[in-house]
């Protein structure tokens, strides 16, 4: 209703470009990087819904992502379950953890949820690093088999490219449907005024919990695919630097939209690639913590100078162009 353009047209455009991309770019480099873009975008998308639409400060999304990766990875590496079943089990485990954490803590306002989930972020990272016998400790989990479904082994970058983007676009589509529906209105309503939301029959605690658990499941799915793609995970992949990266994606993209975080993810991952390519001679050790310096500066700059983010600014630009074209014709 607010959007008078044809959403199906822009969807078709995006899907078309993404489907053609691996075939028009040389080698597998672009395809491989775009896998990360898709998975990070899935993660950022859920977190943006939570932060901006529902006003719930969850800092534990890297953790849900990491748990999804570790649970699925460990089940598959130890040959307890086939990879596809591991993905489902991981999602259930993560949903349960999110439920147990969320049920009491979502009653608290603002900062306290942030503190508790931030604590969870560190707890999980430390526990994963300390329980070396089952998780591989600091050195990481090795021996994760590639994803296989009913005997078909999915090995190449191209397979993961389509799986990752399938998941990402699926999530964006799901959330955009959801946010336009009664559930989405309830989520926005409780962010605007809890007392008014409950006065029209919305069960505020349950609604918060549902979207919290939902986004945690999305993060877990992305994490599981991430681990099968890399076939390797370390605890530090899901710690504090990832949180900074997520914030960067969300503020670059502008959190008020759903395509924003995807855009943010494209920018962030390619920026990271650029940093690694051009600065590898200048800076000796390019760890995630060094990348975080650039991203941190970017966050600060955007929050001060461009608070609506890229998506917001692009929308404004499009609006401006359309208005002027409309006037001249």
């Amino acid at each position: 209703m607010r959007d008078k353009r044809h959403p199906s047209l822009s969807w078709a455009l995006v899907v078309g470009v993404l489907a053609l991309l691996p075939f028009v770019t040389p080698g597998t480099y672009v395809t491989g990087v775009m896998c990360f873009v898709a998975l990070y975008a899935t993660l950022a998308c859920g977190m943006a819904v939570l932060l901006e639409q529902a006003g719930l400060f969850s800092l534990a999304h890297p953790t849900f992502f990491g748990l999804g990766a570790y649970v699925a990875g460990m089940l598959a590496a130890n040959e307890i379950l086939p990879p596809w079943a591991g993905i489902i089990v991981a999602a259930i485990v993560v949903a349960l953890i999110a439920y147990l954490i969320g049920a009491p803590l979502l009653r608290l306002r603002g900062y306290y949820l942030a503190c508790a989930t931030f604590g969870l972020l560190f707890i999980v990272e430390i526990v994963l690093a300390q329980s070396g016998s089952i998780t591989g400790g600091h050195d990481g989990l090795m021996g994760i088999p590639p994803l296989s479904v009913f005997g078909f082994t999915l090995g190449g970058d191209l397979d993961y490219y389509f799986i990752s983007w399938g998941l990402c676009l699926g999530c964006v589509w799901f959330f955009s449907n959801l946010m336009k529906s009664r559930v989405g209105r309830a989520v926005k309503a409780l962010h605007d005024s809890e007392v008014a939301a409950s006065s029209v029959g919305i069960n505020v605690p349950r609604c918060k919990l549902h979207v919290f658990v939902l986004t945690a499941i999305m993060a877990s799915l992305a994490g599981s695919i991430f681990c099968f793609y890399l076939q390797f995970t370390t605890p530090s992949m899901f710690g504090f630097p990832l949180l900074t990266e997520l914030f960067t994606m969300i503020v670059i993209g502008g959190p008020a939209t759903l395509h924003g975080p995807v855009l943010g993810s494209v920018v962030l991952i390619w920026l990271r690639e650029a940093i690694h390519v051009y600065l590898k001679d200048v800076l000796p050790k390019l760890t995630a913590e060094v990348d975080a310096v650039f991203f941190g500066i970017l966050i600060v700059a955007i929050l001060i100078f461009m608070p609506e983010g890229l998506a917001g600014s692009l929308d404004r630009l499009a609006h401006f162009v359309r208005r002027h074209l409309g006037r001249s014709s």
């Binding site: 209703m1 607010r2 799901f174 959330f175 449907n177 959801l178 529906s181 009664r182 559930v183 989405g184 209105r185 309830a186 926005k188 309503a189 962010h191 605007d192 005024s193 007392v195 008014a196 939301a197 409950s198 006065s199 029209v200 029959g201 919305i202 069960n203 505020v204 549902h210 979207v211 939902l214």
Partner: protein
């Protein structure tokens, strides 16, 4: 019971509530009859808004019984009370500022719709049908209050008087039996207040029961079937408008307050 025109819809018995040891409501009892309009008046700080908040479940009463359609709803959470058929507006509007007028009204249908997260997210046919029904109901409510042309405008662009009407439309979308209006005429211009009066008459004709909290005396006196007067959390008078107007305790309470 529904056939009985004058049966009691809402019945309060000895409802009390205090905040940090200060009694905001003390043993308040009265009843609202089906299809009538009862007004709650009293000087500032008399506990009128607290009483509305206690009935709708924003606060739990510390003691007392709140009977609605023969069921004690005291201490139930606000969303449960809303689902029983009590709707309300707010003194300070409390509209959903990030939405359009229509979306605000559609949110009012939330308690009466059932589509779950997954059917909404995957846009299943059932969810889409329900969405269409919700939209129709919301548009009907907006038409009732006369705002259907402004349906697609963001809330922030509406003047105060129309925002109050959006609040009423949103409340109507919950399909209530009892509608509580918290100072609906506050800050309205004369022609807007007239529009409100005719709307309230229309709602009564449709069979709604209305509980009104209001400061505007001519407005209250012309509309009400019964008036309850609160002062410092205590009911000091109850009766038809003429009786309340001439009640010496009421006059004293208001004059002492220079209202």
């Amino acid at each position: 019971m529904a056939d009985h025109p004058n049966s009691v819809l809402l019945d309060l018995k000895d409802v009390s509530r205090s905040f940090a040891g200060i009694r905001a409501l003390s043993l308040v009892s009265f009843s609202v009859e089906r299809g009538t309009i009862l007004s709650l008046i009293g000087p500032n700080g008399a506990g009128k808004s607290t009483l509305i908040n206690v009935i709708t479940g924003v606060y739990a009463p510390h003691s007392g019984v709140i009977d609605f359609e023969g069921e004690n709803i005291a201490g139930r959470t606000a969303d449960v009370v809303a689902s029983k058929g009590i709707a309300r507006t707010f003194q300070l509007e409390e509209l959903f500022g990030s939405m359009t007028v229509l979306e605000n009204a559609m949110t009012g249908c939330n308690g009466k719709s059932r589509s779950g997260m997954f059917s909404c997210g995957f846009a299943l046919p059932a969810a889409r049908r329900e969405e269409e029904r919700i939209r129709q109901e919301a548009i009907e409510s907006l038409a009732l209050v006369g705002l259907e042309e402004r349906a697609f405008e963001p809330i922030s662009r509406l003047p105060l008087g129309e925002r109050k009407l959006v609040g009423i439309a949103r409340a109507l979308c919950t399909k209530p039996t009892l509608l509580m209006l918290d100072e609906p005429a506050g800050g309205l211009a004369a022609h807007e207040a007239e529009r409100l009066v005719s709307l309230i008459h229309l709602l009564l004709e449709k069979g709604l029961t209305i509980l009104l909290v209001e400061h505007n005396m001519p407005f209250v006196m012309s509309l009400s079937d019964k008036i309850v007067v609160l002062e410092a959390g205590v009911k000091i008078a109850e009766g038809i408008p003429e009786a309340v107007r001439n009640n010496p305790r009421v006059i004293k309470a208001y004059l002492g307050q220079e209202q």
